[in-house]
């Protein structure tokens, strides 16, 4: 019971780090980027390659995954995404699905279709007893890292100058522009940072959820659930939503494996119908 809760929290935290970039880009630029998972996959595979081919330690693989995915995000944002901001949502959807297909094919071509495994550092492998429940050390590691990241994110957004500009831009991009805030730059930075976080999440997910070329498609729906339940105006909303989803998914798969997937989709549709603006947002919709 406690083990499941723990696993669920770790999973939820992971989903949060994976998906938060998408929430911000959606809220900021009203841009539907279904290819977000591709950046996560890029980070995950980079870590795998670094570890298995070059023998670099996992601890270095994590920041490398962040930097790599952030760079990838920045490059793609400046070259491709920038053409799409003024297009319709349908165009954005198609474009990002196209990117997903391409990323899946590229990874499949270079790395093969199989699931990739790594040998975790011995310090992270194994299980320990916490409050009478047996818990994987790697999951604690994940929770700690994701927790620290969440706090840092909350701090950046709530306390720094950049954060207040970002919030202004999300609330009303036109007025923010009018006040002299460079929304384009803020968006480019946020996009790169969000992609980097996804990459880091991808590197972390090797140890928790397996990673293979279908990753971006498989987890796309999870990110969408996080957004739909959490809303895009805050980062606490998606955070709670991720935790809820993580625990619900792990518990559902454990207790009622037959209908596990079913429950989540039903909840998503129900939330979208009843509260299209998200479960954890305060009324006002745009």
């Amino acid at each position: 019971m406690l083990t499941i809760l723990f696993d669920g929290v770790a999973y939820g935290m992971l989903l949060f780090v994976l998906g938060i970039g998408l929430c911000v880009t959606l809220g900021l630029m009203n841009f539907i980027n279904l290819a977000h998972g591709a950046f996560a996959m890029a980070g995950g595979y980079l870590t795998i390659v670094l570890m298995n081919r070059y023998g670099i330690s996992y601890y270095w693989g994590l920041p490398a995954a962040f930097v790599f995915s952030a760079a990838l995000g920045a490059i793609l944002e400046r070259t491709l995404y920038v053409h799409l901001y003024n297009k319709s949502h349908l165009d954005q959807t198609l474009f990002s699905i196209g990117l997903v297909f391409m990323s899946m094919a590229i990874v499949d071509y270079f790395m093969g279709a199989n699931q990739q495994t790594i040998n975790l550092p011995p310090a992270l492998d194994g299980r320990i007893n916490v409050l009478g429940a047996s818990v994987g050390i790697f999951r604690i590691f994940t929770i700690v890292i994701c927790g620290l990241l969440t706090i840092a994110l909350q701090f950046i957004i709530a306390k720094t100058r950049f954060g207040s500009r970002l919030r202004a831009a999300v609330d009303d991009g036109r007025v923010a522009r009018g006040l002299g805030i460079n929304v384009t730059t803020i968006f480019a930075l946020t996009f790169a940072f969000g992609s980097g976080l996804a990459g880091l999440g991808g590197a972390l997910s090797i140890g928790i959820i397996s990673i293979d070329p279908t990753f971006p498609l498989k987890y796309m729906i999870y990110f969408l659930i996080v957004i739909s339940v959490g809303g895009t105006t805050t980062i606490t909303g998606p955070f709670y939503a991720s935790l809820l989803l993580g625990v619900a998914d792990v518990a559902g798969k454990y207790y009622v494996p037959e209908i596990g997937g079913f429950i989540i989709y039903t909840i998503m549709v129900a939330v979208l119908i009843l509260r299209p603006q998200g479960l954890f947002t305060k009324g006002a919709t745009r």
Partner: protein
């Protein structure tokens, strides 16, 4: 006042009539589709039989046509049309299998109608879900419905055969006369006939006052409501019709391939359908048809080299299409034609 009103009404109906006249290139299109039967139907020695592929193109075209009705004309972004397609496939397969090749249940035409009816009812029920919310909400709701359905198809093993699907589906002869043959000749002509009928119906629908009101809703829902268009009722109606058409498309695929599998209801069906439509050009009705042919031939050529290449190029084509081209293949043709005529005038 009333005189000018009558005049407006007359000119509007004249415009509608003019639009609904068929043009020479439309006849040419269907003639080409029919002639493919002779070319690839194993009548000419040396030319390989490709009727199976052509039949699949026809079913995909019908799926794309149904998406065109909701997306191209009513402006509803959907990623879930595959749900209705798959539902239709399973209904038709179960009927044909249950009848074991005898008249009322295994009859393909009756099967199509029932599949269309069932998916239509399901479409009607789910249509209320897409009335609210933004593009993104609609996208996710339709996707969610499709995922729930495909999960169900996987789980209800006693009914759907689970991951193995339903095999050995044997529909009886079409109209009691034409048995499905080994080369797929009957299958192709049968599917083409169904596509033609559904297409003709869709053409009538979009060129009717009802179709015009849909265009008004697509362009500006708020104004459409202000001039008295019952927006929600119209959207429900077109969504239901499109769902039924998608169900018929799925039923066709199940009958002609004599099987139904979770693959027919999976996410990629919805995505493929949308891609095909965008590929061909949304909002022309013919876009889905041309797109299906282009898509499936491309898939056959590139996919034969390796599967990953196909996925890569599909993605690349999509990205390029969105950035560089408006309205797909037909859009390009229309633009090229306009340029040509402009060149003549100067």
């Amino acid at each position: 006042m009333s005189g000018s009103h009558d005049k407006d009404l007359q000119s509007a109906s004249a415009r509608l009539l003019k639009q609904s006249h068929s043009r020479w290139y439309e006849w040419l299109f269907w003639a080409v589709a029919l002639s493919l039967f002779v070319i690839f139907g194993d009548f000419i020695p040396g030319v390989p039989t490709r009727l199976m592929l052509l039949t699949e193109i026809v079913t995909l075209a019908l799926l794309a046509l149904s998406i065109d009705l909701v997306l191209g004309f009513a402006g509803i972004v959907t990623l879930g049309q595959g749900a209705y397609f798959g539902l239709g496939a399973y209904v038709a397969a179960l009927l044909a299998k249950g009848g074991a090749g005898t008249f009322p249940m295994s009859d393909p035409v009756i099967g199509l109608l029932i599949a269309g009816l069932v998916t239509g009812v399901f479409g009607f029920v789910t249509s209320f879900l897409v009335l609210r919310g933004s593009d993104l909400t609609r996208l996710m709701v339709t996707l969610g419905v499709a995922l729930i359905l495909s999960e169900l198809a996987n789980q209800m093993r006693w009914l759907t055969g689970g991951a193995d699907g339903l095999n050995g589906v044997m529909p009886s002869a079409v109209l009691g006369i034409w048995e499905f043959d080994l080369w797929g000749r009957v299958a192709y002509l049968y599917s083409l006939a169904v596509l033609f009928i559904c297409f003709w119906l869709s053409r009538r629908i979009v060129n009717s006052p009802f179709g015009l009101s849909l265009k008004a809703i697509k362009n500006n829902p708020l104004r459409a409501r202000a001039i008295g268009v019952p927006v929600n009722a119209r959207l429900v109606a077109i969504y239901t019709i499109a769902a039924a058409l998608a169900g018929i498309a799925g039923a066709l695929l199940a009958q002609t391939t004599q099987s139904a599998s979770p693959d027919m209801i999976a996410f990629h069906r919805s995505a493929d359908g949308l891609l095909i439509l965008v590929f061909g050009g949304a909002g022309y009705l013919y876009g889905g048809l041309i797109g299906a042919a282009a898509f499936r031939v491309m898939q056959d050529v590139i996919g034969n080299i390796t599967l990953q290449y196909w996925q890569f190029w599909l993605g690349a084509v999509l990205v390029a299409l969105v950035i560089f081209v408006r309205n797909g293949i037909i859009g390009m043709m229309v633009a090229g034609w306009a340029r040509l005529r402009k060149g003549d005038g100067q």
